[in-house]
Each structure stands twice: as structure tokens, then as C-alpha cells.
């Protein structure tokens, strides 16, 4: 308690100025979101020609149009599905890989550690042409699996973090479990994996943000409307603002606010998870 007091006292005038700036900056972020929400309730002409004036009327018309006529929830469903499957696959694969590297002694173990790490220098964008050819041959263009497979293959960071964790677990736990008669797989699933849950949580947070917001992969692979994800729908409206200002407001709000509310509710947990990931990296 004493150290806490010491750290927060005597920060000086500059620190006060910095804090003031941070207050303004932070509040501005939230202000913009509320501002967007407010405009999403106005008709298009009213937003465009009377932006700062008194609104003509406020209604949910834009949302109704968005959901009924433009199938917002189909896009939303696609996004959720891609996120859920990729995340499950990624967590499963990266934890068994990390466990395999950390638990067993075999030739090439060191090499594998480095091999899984170099992916950080292999951005998916640059290899997209060959990947596109593979997906075309597998007939997966316009199929969510194309995005899912590539997203779930990006396991460098998770494997790195989890390998460190599993390597740090005492060997006795593993041996005791084998003596108790659990097989290799059961030992992993029932004993080892649950112990890694804080790291897994941290991985889930960082990765799911990336997958949810990803733009490049869906843009390349999902060209038909039925397969598209939310960010692609947003672009459809923000591309020609003059014609679709109202819908752009509504879709931006609807795709942003629920996620942010989730974040606000669990913010402490989520931020701790992110911090944990950063320390490892």
C-alpha cells in the first residue's frame, strides 16, 4: 500500500498536463462512438444537409432497413462462425503443438521451436498468391473454410507462449498422471491443458480481435455476398457515403457497440490477458 502511495504522489505539473491530455483523448474516443450512435437514428438527408442542427426525427428506421433488407445478421453470423471455428482450431492446434515440443525430448526439437517462431516474419499477405491457388484447387473460394484455415494456421505467437508455459511445468505432474494410468492424450487433456488456461485466455483475446476485424483474407477469399463478413459489409456502405450515409452510421454502430460493451464489461480481465501476452512476447 505504501509503494502505491509513493508512486502516485509527487508527479508534478507536466504529469498533470499529460493526464489532462489523456482525459481529453480518452473521452473523445467515447464521444465519437456516442456521436455515431446518435446519427444512426437520423434519416440520410437530415444527416447530410443538417449535420449539426436539430434532428428532424429520431427513429430506428436505419436499423430496420439494415437488418431486414440487407441481411445484417447473415454477415454477422458469418463473422461469428469464422471467429468461433478459427479460434477453436487455433487454440487446439497450437496447444498440442506447444505441448509436443515442450514435453518430449527428441531430435529436431530446438529446430521446431525456431521453425514455429519464424512465422512472425512471414506475413500472410505476401504468400497470398500461392494460398489463393491452393484454395482455388480445393474449391474453397467463397467458402468460410478458406479464411478459417489460414487464420488458424497463424500459430507462431501462441505456440511460443504455450511452449514456454508447458516447459515450465514440473515433470512430476506428468509422470504421476502416467502412473495413475492416464494415457498420453488423457494426461494432456485432463491435466496439462486445463493448467494452461490463463495463457490460453490471453491467446484467445489477442487472436480473436485480429480474426474478428480481419479484412484482407475475407476480401480475397469471400467474394460472394452470402459468404461475406461484417467488415466487408461496412465497406459496402462507407464506400459511397453520399448515397448510404444513414446505413453507414447504422452498420458501424451495430458492428461496433456490442463488441465494445462486451469489452467494457470484461475489461479488467481482458486487459490483464493482453498484458500477460505482452510480457511473454
Amino acid at each position: 500500500m505504501k509503494t502505491r502511495d509513493m508512486m502516485s504522489r509527487h508527479q508534478g505539473k507536466t504529469a498533470g498536463l499529460v493526464k489532462l491530455f489523456l482525459w481529453i483523448y480518452s473521452s473523445f474516443t467515447f464521444f465519437m462512438l456516442v456521436y455515431m450512435m446518435y446519427h444512426s437514428l437520423r434519416p440520410r438527408q437530415d444527416i447530410l444537409s443538417n449535420t449539426f442542427g436539430k434532428p428532424e426525427k429520431l427513429s430506428l428506421d436505419n436499423y430496420i432497413k439494415l437488418i431486414v433488407k440487407d441481411h445484417f445478421f447473415r454477415y454477422f453470423g458469418n463473422s461469428v462462425m469464422i471467429l468461433a471455428v478459427s479460434l477453436a482450431l487455433l487454440v487446439f492446434i497450437s496447444s498440442i503443438t506447444a505441448y509436443g515440443i515442450a514435453r518430449y525430448r527428441f531430435k529436431g526439437r530446438k529446430f521446431l521451436r525456431v521453425y514455429f517462431l519464424v512465422g512472425l516474419m512471414f506475413p500472410i499477405q505476401l504468400g497470398i498468391v500461392p494460398v489463393f491457388q491452393i484454395m482455388k484447387n480445393l474449391n474453397l473460394i467463397n467458402h468460410p473454410l478458406s479464411v478459417i484455415l489460414v487464420s488458424a494456421a497463424n500459430i507462431s505467437m501462441p505456440v511460443f507462449m504455450l511452449t514456454d508455459f508447458f516447459a515450465g511445468l514440473p515433470r512430476e505432474i506428468y509422470e504421476a498422471s502416467l502412473i495413475d494410468g492416464a494415457g498420453e492424450w488423457m494426461t494432456f487433456r485432463k491435466i496439462m491443458f486445463p493448467m494452461a488456461s490463463p495463457i490460453v485466455f490471453s491467446v484467445c483475446i489477442t487472436v480473436s480481435v485480429q480474426i474478428w476485424n480481419q479484412f484482407f483474407l475475407p476480401l480475397i477469399f469471400l467474394q460472394k455476398d452470402v459468404a461475406k463478413t461484417v467488415p466487408l459489409l461496412v465497406v459496402k456502405y462507407t464506400g459511397k457515403l453520399i448515397n448510404t450515409m444513414d446505413l453507414a452510421m447504422a452498420v458501424s454502430t451495430l458492428s461496433t457497440i456490442p463488441i465494445l460493451l462486451l469489452f467494457l464489461v470484461f475489461s479488467q480481465k481482458i486487459l490483464d490477458g493482453v498484458t500477460a501476452g505482452g510480457v511473454k512476447g
Binding site: 502505491r4 502516485s8 509527487h10 508534478g12 504529469a15 499529460v18 489523456l22 482525459w23 483523448y25 480518452s26 474516443t29 467515447f30 456521436y35 455515431m36 446519427h39 449535420t51 497450437s94 498440442i96 503443438t97 509436443g100 514435453r103 518430449y104 527428441f106 519464424v118 512465422g119 512472425l120 516474419m121 512471414f122 506475413p123 500472410i124 499477405q125 505476401l126 504468400g127 497470398i128 498468391v129 500461392p130 494460398v131 484455415l149 489460414v150 494456421a153 500459430i155 507462431s156 505456440v159 494432456f188 474478428w212 476485424n213 479484412f215 467474394q223 467488415p231 461496412v234 458492428s255 461496433t256 469489452f263 475489461s267 479488467q268 486487459l271 493482453v274 498484458t275 505482452g278 510480457v279
Partner: protein, 307 residues
């Protein structure tokens, strides 16, 4: 065979990850390297041309000027990030770390744009800087500066700075959290000691904290480099495939996309007869630029650790 595998349980654990990762992350770069030696548009006949694509890329005036322009923009983003964003992130992290009033609120607010998808971020910037409905212009009018109002997003010279501002606003929280994490690893003793000795708030940051988080800073510099070389969404959404007016928001990744998938859309459109060959050649040049810097950094880090 089965018996052998039974003796080596790790193979079962490693196989799925090894396959998926190798096929979709590692192999594509090498396949791109191979493709870059061909004249090919993805559909027709593949003709082996050796290094001709690279020679074309570096000797063709138009391609070269496009690439240099894109590279300059990417490096601008990188430089601004290192010179402005990273110091700001460290300062923000220090504020939260030292329990400044409202620290938790800052943390949440600064991190939250991370959860907003790129198109929405671009849209929010439109709401702020647009010529007709933008908040900035309105504020200027109210402040009596009506004569200086402009369509900020439409000024070519500012384009790349606006792209940088968007990237920074969206991503600044992640770096901040990493720095907070790194700061929490520092022993409290040295800080308390410094406090007793009379080191002020900023002196403690400069002399005690900064030296101990320099690895994190170095890592973040490398990450910013890779990001600025591969960032795509913002420029694409803001300026389309062609990279805006006079390619004012063009970046390396977008240049690559334009070469590989043509000027309009991934299928068809304005694709050249050698799209895949030239596209992969650009990808390989870009990859080498990333790989060499990353290698350099790794060597530096290893040297430091051995000392």
C-alpha cells in the same frame, strides 16, 4: 509403422500443427519465390522467364516510381510510429503504471479502438475530418476560423499522415499494454530507492524504467516495421486499389495487391497478363526487406543476451 508411432507420442501432438502451419504460412512464401520466376496470370500458360520479373520491376520507370512512392509512404508510417507513437505509448503506460488518477479509464478508453474494425475507423475519421459534415470544420467555424476550413481527407499531401493517424489511434493501446506488462516486471525496490534519493516522477521513468524495458521497445520497433510494410486495410479502404489521388495513400502491401490482383477486384478487372508473376516478385522483394531487418534485430538481441 504404427508401433513406431506408439513409441513416439509427440508425433501425434506435432503433426496437425506442423502440417497446417507449413502449408499456409511457410510454404506460400517459397512458392511465391518460385512463381516469381514465371510469366503467368493465374489462368493461362506458365512460361519460365528466370529473373525477368525482377529486372522489369527494377528497370520499368512506372513500376519503379510506384514502388518507391509506396516504400516512402511505408517508411514514413514506420518513422512516425517510432518517433511519436512509441514515446507516447511509453508515457501512457507509465501514467497507468504509476496509478495516475483515472488510469483504469485511460487504459480502457485507449485500448477500445482495438475492437473497432478498420472500415469503421476510417468512417469515424471521415466524420471528424470531412469537408461538409466533419466536426473539425464545424469547430473551426465556431472558433471563427471559418476561412481555413477544408476537406481534410481530400488533400493529397496529408493522405499518408491521416493513414498513420488512423493506424495509431486504432493500435496504440496494444503497445501501451505491452509496456505496462514490461513495467510491472521491474522490481519495486529500485524505484523506491530512486524515490528516496529524490528522483522526480520523470527522472524515474528516464533512468530506472526505460533502461529496463529497452528490449520491449526494441521488439515493438521491429513489430512496427513489419506492420508498416504489411499494412493494407487503411489505404485500401481510403484510396481504393489505386492508392488514392496520385497514389497519395499507397503503401507497399497495397502496391503488391495491385500487381497481383489487378486494379479493380480480385477476380478479373484490370489484371495484367503477368499479374501472378509480377505480384509474387513484389511479394518476394517485400519479404526480403522484412526478413533482413528482422534477422538484424535477432542478431542484435542475441548479442545483447550473451554479454
Amino acid at each position: 509403422m504404427i508401433k513406431k508411432l506408439r513409441k513416439k507420442p509427440y508425433i501425434w501432438f506435432l503433426m496437425p500443427g506442423l502440417i497446417l502451419y507449413s502449408v499456409f504460412i511457410i510454404y506460400p512464401i517459397f512458392a511465391a519465390g518460385q512463381l516469381s520466376l514465371y510469366y503467368w496470370n493465374g489462368i493461362g500458360e506458365k512460361v519460365f522467364v528466370g529473373f525477368q520479373n525482377y529486372i522489369d520491376l527494377f528497370t520499368n520507370k512506372d513500376l519503379m516510381s510506384q514502388m518507391m512512392n509506396a516504400l516512402r509512404h511505408s517508411l514514413t508510417i514506420f518513422a512516425l510510429t517510432v518517433c511519436i507513437a512509441i514515446p507516447v505509448q511509453v508515457t501512457m503506460a507509465y501514467m497507468v503504471y504509476s496509478k495516475a488518477k483515472g488510469g483504469n479509464y485511460f487504459q480502457v478508453a485507449i485500448f477500445s479502438p482495438q475492437f473497432i474494425s478498420t472500415p469503421v475507423i476510417v468512417f469515424i475519421f471521415t466524420l471528424i475530418f470531412d469537408g461538409n459534415i466533419g466536426i473539425v470544420n464545424k469547430l473551426m467555424e465556431v472558433a471563427g476560423l471559418g476561412a481555413y476550413t477544408r476537406s481534410w481527407l481530400g488533400i493529397p499531401q496529408y493522405g499518408i499522415y491521416i493513414v498513420w493517424a488512423m493506424i495509431t489511434w486504432a493500435g496504440i493501446g496494444v503497445g501501451m499494454m505491452y509496456f505496462i506488462g514490461a513495467m510491472k516486471m521491474i522490481g519495486r525496490d529500485s524505484l523506491e530507492c530512486a524515490y528516496m534519493e529524490g528522483a522526480g516522477f520523470w527522472k524515474r521513468l528516464w533512468y530506472i524504467i526505460l533502461p529496463q524495458i529497452r528490449m520491449t521497445i526494441l521488439n515493438l520497433v521491429l513489430v512496427s516495421y513489419i506492420v508498416s510494410m504489411t499494412i493494407f486495410d487503411f489505404s485500401y479502404i481510403l484510396g481504393g486499389t489505386s492508392g488514392g489521388i496520385n497514389r497519395n495513400v499507397d503503401v507497399m502491401s497495397l502496391f503488391f495487391y495491385r500487381m497481383a490482383f489487378g486494379d479493380t477486384n480480385p477476380l478479373g478487372g484490370n489484371v495484367s497478363a503477368n499479374s501472378m508473376g509480377m505480384g509474387t516478385a513484389v511479394a518476394c522483394v517485400l519479404f526480403l526487406m522484412i526478413f533482413m531487418i528482422a534477422l538484424l534485430q535477432l542478431l542484435l538481441v542475441y548479442r545483447k543476451e550473451e554479454d
